[in-house]
Symmetry: C2
């Protein structure tokens, strides 16, 4: 096999991962004198902040994703390859992948994170993570299928388990999912499933720390809790789900909740590669890098975004794993690569925190913006604007806008399709 890439006199920049960081880097290098190879295990870039909308049938998966080949259509000396990277062999300047070896002049690891199940294999096989479009669709399928089953279920205990949803993890994703499921319960369930009683659908949000949205301000955290509880979500703080068996989510205080649906959004861990040792990793498996995003001891191997751990004065424990960090690191690295080629000194990275937002349903959000804290409908508008700007392509912006406007004015969630259940979810159902 092999990558089938033409040899060239140009220096070859290999980017592992086309998320926010890798994409910005690749875009910024347009017109540079590099040969660029972008490798991703999917053929499209996806927009994680809106995944929860796909999971709750509010958005079409194609509204939040964009094929790489379309993004880079007009680029010269640019290659996209669909592959998974297994190992980084720094002494030979090459990577080992599912489609063969590839030599690099510069390597940028921008592969992000994966769901952290904390070593619990039972939970890993039965709970539903929500990091990718495929997982969001599986969650959507599961919810809709469970409602269908509940309509014909005569055993009250079984019916309750089909109607209960337990969301583990009170960060932005958990808060967002809880919010849209609460909306589904109030605005869609009564219309679509008149056989089911709205009150029977219980949504539990379980968080191990004392606060929801622990990475945001206390005000944001309190508002989120208030909004969710106002929508009927049962928020359980300082509790952990330690196991999931016999149809029960088991908490660390010994209690349990009967449920067929456990959504696992309680932690991430950095992607791993062979031949990058554990001693080169920091907390969460993140690859330690210096102020230029270089791996220690490597002049030509870099890591940006969620996968890396970089410290600076304001962030002694590393940056938050958010899109803005990845985007800013990617932009700077592109310029630094050009400086390397021209012999100029590199610039160190300093994160500019422009703000954090988390949505809590149809017209509520909490935001910590620079010097300002917002909540309520204004925060939701700001968030809508910020997110739309980041989505690539004019058409996608229009599609998302139409979906959102429709959803906003009609409390409608039209994409309620149960599509073929993939093998992974079928295995779960056979329990």
């Amino acid at each position: 096999m092999g990558f089938n890439i033409a040899d060239t006199d140009k220096k070859r920049v290999v980017i592992i991962g086309g998320g926010f960081g890798g994409l910005k880097l690749a875009n910024r290098l347009k017109g540079s004198n590099f040969q660029i190879v972008l490798i991703d295990k999917n053929n499209y870039h996806q927009f994680p902040p809106l995944l929860y909308q796909v999971a709750s049938s509010g958005l079409e998966s194609s509204s939040i994703s964009f094929p790489f080949r379309k993004i880079f259509q007009k680029r010269k000396d640019f290659y996209f390859r669909l592959a998974e990277v297994k190992a980084v062999v720094r002494e030979k300047n090459l990577i080992l992948t599912s489609i063969g070896e590839l030599k690099y002049d510069y390597l940028i690891i921008a592969s992000g994170t994966v769901t952290n199940f904390f070593g619990n294999e039972v939970i890993q096989s039965r709970a539903l993570p929500m990091k990718t479009i495929e997982e969001a669709l599986i969650l959507r399928n599961t919810l809709l299928s469970n409602f269908e089953k509940a309509t014909i279920c005569t055993d009250p205990k079984e019916k309750q388990a089909l109607m209960n949803v337990v969301i583990v993890g009170g960060g932005a994703t958990g808060v967002e999912i809880s919010g849209v499921l609460a909306e589904m319960k109030h605005f869609v369930l009564p219309k679509d499933y008149p056989d089911l009683k709205q009150s029977e659908m219980n949504i539990y949000l379980v968080e191990g720390s004392p606060h929801l949205l622990a990475a945001m301000s206390e005000e944001a955290s309190d508002n989120a809790k208030r909004f969710l509880e106002g929508m009927g979500v049962k928020v359980m703080l300082q509790k952990k789900v330690v196991d999931y068996k016999d149809g029960k989510a088991i908490l660390d205080d010994g209690n349990s909740i009967e449920t067929k649906t456990v959504v696992w959004v309680s932690g991430v861990t950095a992607t791993r590669f062979e031949q990058i040792d554990n001693k080169e990793l920091g907390r969460g498996g993140r690859i330690l890098v210096n102020e230029y995003n270089q791996l220690h001891g490597s002049g030509n191997v870099f890591a940006i975004g969620d996968v890396c751990l970089q410290t600076e004065t304001d962030y002694p424990n590393g940056h938050p794993q958010v899109a803005q960090v990845a985007i800013q690191q990617g932009l700077l690295l592109a310029d630094n690569l050009k400086r390397l080629e021209s012999g100029e000194p590199l610039k160190p990275f300093h994160y500019k925190n422009l703000g954090t937002l988390a949505t809590v349903g149809r017209n509520k959000a909490v935001a910590d913006l620079h010097k300002v804290k917002l909540h309520g409908f204004i925060a939701w508008l700001v968030w809508m604007g910020v997110h739309l700007r980041s989505i690539l392509g004019v058409k996608n912006k229009i599609m998302v806008l139409i979906e959102w406007v429709w959803s906003y004015f009609t409390y409608d969630q039209s994409i309620r399709l149960i599509l073929f259940i993939p093998k992974k979810e079928r295995d779960k159902q056979e329990d």
Copy 2:
């Protein structure tokens, strides 16, 4: 288990299948004094005429499908059940299904057809049919994956097989798929896959009879052939694909075509139910019915649409299996059911053929309209109008319109996502 449907004094009308016929029937019975139960194996109604667009990445699957629960949100005494029907037990007035038994006062079989593989199990396991959204998505995944593999393939023979597509069946579906794949070859491949040579993608359309679109006029048929050949499709008439093995589609004349992609759209057969005997079926397994769409010997069991075979003076061999027949039969049957209840005489069915259309790419179509034969751009406009009117829901019309307009003006096919490959397609790939 069981259907969990309230008992009632009203007569219960059970409809098997929510396609064009079943849906129109259910809609027409709104406000009638029946309890209605609609059963379908999917939770959404799909619009088959545009499936080929989903397969070629021109349309999102949700643009051509509409969840039943949303369509029937406001209906009283209406039940939707997700289930598969196995048997019809007429002597007991009940059906046997995957979720239990259900008694009926009136039963309407509107379950349509399935792909006919003519008993060839090898082809059934390896070829790609195109009758459902799931199958259209599998085809899309397969095409895109094959292109990705072709970019890194160094063996010319293997590469050619990845780039060849053989479409078996020269009816409307085969013609439509050939047309959009030819467009993909000319307008998308060079932009997205600069590594691949456009000329290497061969599209073969194999038809057993002497004509494409054999159900249409000779003029339509000739125009379709002319359009397709003008787009580079290799049309092979009076040829059949008899087998598919070792990566070769084998023709009845002994020749073979190396290909990884065989699209099987060459025939349908009616859905079958236990306890409806073969002697009650006509050609293609279609259930024989009288002029009121009643099964022989059954006053209260009916069949409409593709699944039934009804003859009249102008159609001594039965009606064509098209949407208009199903829609008209459904409408009449709704009124006839009311007549049955009020003791009025029933009206017999007479098909009004308003015309047939088949699209052949971006701005070409062939149409046999009442007394008029059209082709070219005008036919395409007419077809666009006819199809849009049938799609349910204002929002879906807007989405489809935006997709089409975008596609029309930019030759763009943006939905080029390879999403999780379902088990079925994975088995195919392991060959």
